[in-house]
Every structure is written in C-alpha cells, then in structure tokens.
C-alpha cells in the first residue's frame, strides 16, 4: 500500500514537470532537483459545475492550483448573509490559508467545469524550506489575491447597482481570453455585488436592452466595453 502511494507521488511530481500550464501554476520556477523533493501525492482533480471543493471552517490539508475553470469563494456571516468575495481562475491558488494551518475562510464552489491540481500542505512546507523560488511564487499569489480583494471592495462594492454590474461585467470580460466571457447567474451577481438578485437582474436586463450586453451560448456573453466604460467607468 505504501508503495502504491509513493509510486503515485512520483507520478504526481513527474506530471508537474511536464505540465502544459506550468508557467502559470505554482511550480513554475522549480527545477528538476526541486521536483525530486516531492514525496507526497499531487493529484489532478476535475469538478462538475456547482461542486463544493471545500467548506468554510474545514480543516485544510491541501492547497489547490486552478488549471482551468472558474471558482467562487463564498464567505458566510453569523446572521446567515453571505457574500462572494473573490473569483479564482487559471493560475490562482485556492486554500492559501491552509499554509498557515488555518481552517478554510470560505466555501470554494465551482462555477463551471473546473480542473485543479491538489497539493498537500506538507509538500509546500517541505519545498519552502529549501527553494526560494517557491517563496516568490507564493508571495506573488498572495499579492494577487490581496489586490483582487481590494478591487472587489472598490469596484464591486461601491456605487449604485448599475455601476457595480457594469464593473463586474468589465472585470469578467477583461479576465477572459476570447471575446466572450462567463456570465454568472443573477443570484451570484447579487452575492458578488452586495445587491439583491432582482437588482442585478434589472441592471443586466437594462444593459441588454441598450445592446451593451448580448447573451451568447449558455452562461456566455459579450459586452460593448467602450460603452459600459463610458457610462459607468
């Protein structure tokens, strides 16, 4: 049994070396020698849309590199209110707080089909001791998460409902590689913006009427970025 696990571990680290998106993920700067230090299984996992990766309060033995797809981080208030506080996409890390031994700060829920690479905390800890490159990579993730959180406050939690929806659409569009982008449900939009589902819907519908937003296939949309920017900046 032990052998099987170790075998799996090595396969895991080997996969990392040849990972197609390695330049985007956590191990981009490691060299071959570094990989040889990894003695714990790193697994690729796929999730259906709407899957819970972990729950707020869970113990966190893993950190997750997102290979593809979109994840929402939900935080609950004692009174039952909840906000989506961040979206994670390719190259981001979910469960950063595990590295400090903390329990999960959020629910992590997939918005579409998501593929992650699940890394035991112990692997990070081990590598951290000897590979400065990993430090830098981690610091960069932390920095990115933090500036994401800041702009979530200034862009998505400030101004009236239409402004917020416009800024959310612009952010989603900007983060997308092609010219369409993921359009969340109105309920999720509301939870991101701190407004009701109906308010999110009213703003969205208004933008559609103005032809500033066009729904394409399921969950995908296009926007007139210039016009939205001009109107709501």
């Amino acid at each position: 049994m032990k052998n099987i696990l170790i075998e799996k571990a090595w396969r895991g680290a080997d996969r990392c070396k040849n990972c197609a998106i390695r330049h985007l993920v956590l191990f981009s700067d490691l060299d071959h020698q570094d990989f040889d230090r990894i003695h714990h299984p790193i697994d690729d996992i796929d999730y259906e849309p709407g899957s819970w990766i972990y729950h707020q309060g869970d113990e966190m033995p893993f950190v997750y590199t997102i290979r593809s797809g979109l994840i929402k981080l939900i935080q609950h208030l004692p009174n039952g209110d909840r906000r989506i506080v961040r979206l994670l996409r390719q190259g981001d890390l979910a469960g950063l707080e595990s590295l400090n031994g903390q329990n999960a700060d959020h629910d992590a829920v997939t918005l579409d089909h998501v593929s992650v690479c699940r890394i035991p905390r112990s692997v990070i800890k081990t590598l951290q001791r000897d590979t400065p490159n990993l430090h830098d990579a981690l610091i960069k993730r932390w920095q990115k998460a933090l500036s994401g959180a800041d702009s979530w406050i200034t862009k998505l939690s400030t101004g009236n409902a239409k402004q917020r929806v416009a800024r959310l659409l612009l952010l989603l569009d900007q983060a997308s590689t092609d010219d369409s982008f993921f359009l969340p449900t109105r309920e999720d939009m509301g939870a991101m913006l701190g407004v009701t589902t109906e308010s999110a819907s009213k703003a969205t519908a208004e933008f559609k009427r103005q032809n500033w937003l066009k729904a394409l296939s399921h969950n995908r949309a296009w926007i007139d970025t210039d016009e939205l920017q001009r109107q709501f900046d």
Copy 2:
C-alpha cells in the same frame, strides 16, 4: 557620506534587536546573526494625525511596520470615487506591494499619531534570501491582510447602513486593547462602508440615542457590544 549611512544602518538594526514591540513586528523571529546582515538604514518615523505616508501610484522603496497608531488605506477609482479598504494597526505592514516591486496600491494616511519603522525593500530582499523565519513572518502578514480584506467585504460592505455601522464599531472595539476605541469621522466611516457621510451619521446618532454608543474624549467612544451584536450581528 557613505560611512555615515552605514553607521546609521547599524544603529537601525541595533534598535531592532532591542525593540520593545519586537514580538509584534516583522523581525520577531530573527536572531542576532540575522540582524548583522542588515546594511541599510531602518528609520523610526513619527507622523501627525492626517499625514500621508505614501500615495497610490507612488514607487515604493520601503515597507512600513506600524509600531503604534492607526492608518487608513484608501483606494481611488478612475471616476474619482474612493473607498477606505483597510485599517492597519500595531504589528501590521503597510506597503506590502513594494516587495513585488509594484507601485503603491493605496494612499496610506494616518488617523491618529502614528509611529512606524521604515524598512528599505532591499533589507527584506536580502534577509529573505537566507532567513526562512522572515518568510513565515511575511506570509503571516499577507494572510492577515487578506483575511482583513475579506471580512471588510462581508462585514462592512454587506447589509443596510445601520448593520454596517454596527459591525464597524464592533470591529474597532474588538481591535482595541482598552475598553474605549477610536471612533472615525463620519466621512471616514462612510468611505469605509460605502455609504454617504450622512447615512453614517444618522446610524451613529441613532446608536447614541439608544445608549448603545457613547462618545468619550475626542475621537474615542464606547459601545454596548452585546446589544449591538444582538441587534445587528
């Protein structure tokens, strides 16, 4: 001239060794040998209330450990709107983004009398190469900043104006060591909560009428935490 600077540098590092709040600041885990690596001046600086420590967009050659006092981080939107996105207090780091070579993400403005310890980025970079302890300390600061940002979103940017004001007061009270706490201006409260100055004022005044909030000396207040929690949680 060079000698003067180096002399100053040694004095700086020496001060750190004997710093009264060293357990709270960035260098808590360094040993004597580590301090000997510091060859750049670390200065103690005091600021009057309302001083700008740096401006959004500034190049950032320093990171600042807060020894005492309270700092607001302000972020501006292109349209001129602005939000206070975080408060920093003893032991927190301002200008984290400097460590990635980025320009300042915020204005940092003192709310009361503030004393900081200004550390050149180069010192951190140098120490980082050789002292794993500093890594951990940095990671912890980042983690704290991030979870602060998250709860800013869920607690201070969600719900109606009264709820937000109540949660802000509870946070300020909780962070305080004695039984009074720093009560910001209504304008700053508004900028923290994403509501107008008047809305912040109306909620605050209402709490005073209910005797859930009492203004003490200038800028200091007391709250009935149980009652505020029960009412607005």
